[in-house]
C-alpha cells in the first residue's frame, strides 16, 4: 500500500485534532486518515511540537496553593511506576474485518470499535455496519460492491467518507485508500464504485442523506442503511 494519499483533512482540522478540540467522531475519521497518511503523520508531530512549546513558554497559573501542590507531588511519587504490560493499553495496529467471504484491513484508530461490534446490514450491493461510537453523528463502515452507484443525494449535515479499501469516484474526483472526502450541507453528489473494484469506507454522518431523484426517493425511509 504505497500509493500516495491525495485528499487530506486540511490544516485547520488537523490543528483542532491535535489540540483535542475536534468532536470525537470527526476526530476518529481524522485519526484513521492519519494512520494511512505519512504526510499528515508528520504534520501532526509538528503541530504537537508547537502545542508543547506553547505549554512550556506559557505563564504559570496565577493562583496556586503551594500546600496543595506539595501534597499532590507527594501523592504522585508514592505511587509505583508502571510496568511494561500496563504501559501498552493502546490498540497497536490495524485489524481485519470480515464481510461474507471478504476480509478487509481497517486502521488502528478503528481497531477497538470494530472489534466490539461489526454487524452488517445488507441491501443489494451495499452493506453497512454501525460502529459503537455513540455520539451525535453516525459512524459506520460502508461497503459498496463493484460497479454500484449510490443514488444522487444531498447532505443535510456533514458527511465524512474515508476510503479504507478499493476506490470510489464522484463528480468531483476519484478517491483511493486513505483519501478523505468531506461534504458539507447542500453539497450534492453521486458516488459510485468502478466496474472491477469494490470499496470499503468509514462514513461519519451528522444527518440522514436526502435522495433526490425519482424512485430513489423511496430510499429515504431506508435510512438505516446509510445512517
Amino acid at each position: 500500500m504505497t500509493h500516495a494519499v491525495k485528499y487530506h483533512p486540511g490544516i485547520p482540522l488537523l490543528e483542532q485534532y491535535v489540540e483535542g478540540t475536534l468532536e470525537a467522531d470527526v476526530a476518529l475519521a481524522v485519526s484513521a486518515h492519519i494512520d494511512l497518511c505519512p504526510h499528515c503523520q508528520q504534520l501532526c508531530l509538528d503541530l504537537s511540537a508547537e502545542q508543547g512549546l506553547m505549554l512550556e513558554k506559557s505563564a504559570p497559573a496565577a493562583e496556586l496553593d503551594a500546600t496543595d501542590l506539595d501534597q499532590m507531588l507527594a501523592d504522585i511519587m508514592a505511587q509505583p511506576q508502571w510496568n511494561g504490560r500496563e504501559l501498552n493499553t493502546q490498540p497497536q495496529g490495524p485489524v481485519q474485518v470480515q464481510l461474507k467471504d471478504k476480509t478487509f484491513t481497517v486502521p488502528r484508530a478503528l481497531a477497538r470499535l470494530v472489534e466490539q461490534q461489526t454487524k452488517w446490514t445488507q441491501l443489494g450491493s451495499i452493506a453497512n455496519a454501525k460502529l459503537p461510537a455513540g455520539d451525535k453523528r453516525h459512524v459506520s463502515l460502508l461497503y459498496i460492491d463493484k460497479d454500484t452507484a449510490i443514488p444522487q443525494h444531498t447532505h443535510k449535515g456533514l458527511e465524512i467518507t474515508l476510503v479504507l479499501s478499493g476506490r470510489i469516484v464522484d463528480e468531483k474526483g476519484s478517491y483511493g485508500v486513505g483519501d478523505i472526502l468531506i461534504n458539507t450541507p447542500d453539497d450534492t453528489h453521486t458516488p459510485r464504485t468502478l466496474p472491477d473494484e469494490d470499496c470499503l469506507c468509514l462514513s461519519v454522518l451528522s444527518a440522514p442523506l436526502q435522495f433526490n431523484k425519482g424512485i430513489t426517493r423511496l430510499l429515504n425511509p431506508l435510512q438505516h442503511l446509510f445512517y
Binding site: I34, D46, A49, E56, D68, W82, L87, T89, R108
Partner: protein, 192 residues
C-alpha cells in the same frame, strides 16, 4: 537521515525519572509544569477543581509512564502536552457519561509510524517569490512566517535560524514543513 534526539533540561529529567525513578528530577519537572498545566486547565475547563484534577492525572501519568517518553520523537514538553490533552479528552467524555466509545487511546497513537523520507522543499524557492503566494505568505502564523523569511528571503541555513531565534533545529524544520503545507493548500484552493 537519522531522527534528531532532543536533549535538554526536561528531556534529561524525564530519562532520570524513567531509569532511576529519580524523585529530585521529577520534583523539578513537577514544579515547572504543574502550575503551567493548571493555567492550561483553567482555560479549558474554566473550573479550578477540574483543572487540578487534570494536573494531577497528567503529572501522575508523567511519573508512571516516563519510560514511554522517546526523545527521538519529540521534546519533553510535546509529550507532556499530549498527555494533558488526552487526560482532558477522557475527562470530558466521562462527564458526558459516554460508555464503550471513542477514547483518547483510539484517537492519538503514541507509537512510531514507519519512518518517512523528509520531503524536499527546494522546489519552493522560486515559487515562493511569486505574487500569487505573497498574500498567503503574509497570512502564515507569525512564528512560521518568521522562520520562512529567514530561510527563504534572507537565505539563512536552518542552523543559523535555530541559533538566531534560540529554538531547536527540529522546531525550525517543523515550522518550515507546516508553513509549506499551508502554502500548498492555499495554492490548491486558488487553482480549483
Amino acid at each position: 537521515n537519522a531522527p534528531e534526539i532532543r536533549t535538554g533540561q526536561w528531556e534529561d529529567a524525564l530519562s532520570f525519572v524513567a531509569v532511576h525513578q529519580d524523585k529530585a528530577a521529577y520534583s523539578e519537572l513537577f514544579s515547572y509544569f504543574a502550575p503551567r498545566l493548571k493555567a492550561f486547565g483553567m482555560k479549558m475547563f474554566g473550573n479550578e477543581q477540574q483543572a487540578l484534577e487534570m494536573v494531577q492525572d497528567t503529572m501522575l501519568n508523567v511519573w508512571r509512564k516516563a519510560r514511554l517518553f522517546d526523545p527521538s520523537r519529540g521534546c519533553a514538553s510535546t509529550w507532556i502536552f499530549t498527555i494533558a490533552r488526552n487526560v482532558r479528552f477522557d475527562m470530558l467524555r466521562k462527564k458526558q457519561s459516554r460508555k464503550d466509545d471513542i477514547s483518547a487511546d483510539d484517537l492519538w497513537y503514541d507509537g512510531n509510524y514507519p519512518e518517512q523520507e523528509d520531503s524536499g522543499s527546494h522546489q519552493w524557492d522560486t515559487v515562493l517569490m511569486t505574487e500569487k503566494l505573497a498574500p498567503h505568505f503574509d497570512r502564515l502564523p507569525e512564528a512560521q512566517r518568521l522562520v520562512m523569511v529567514k530561510v527563504y528571503l534572507e537565505e539563512k541555513s536552518h542552523q543559523e535560524v535555530s541559533d538566531e531565534l534560540a529554538i531547536p533545529l527540529g522546531t525550525v524544520k517543523s515550522r518550515i514543513r507546516l508553513a509549506l503545507d499551508r502554502l500548498r493548500e492555499a495554492l490548491d484552493d486558488t487553482r480549483s
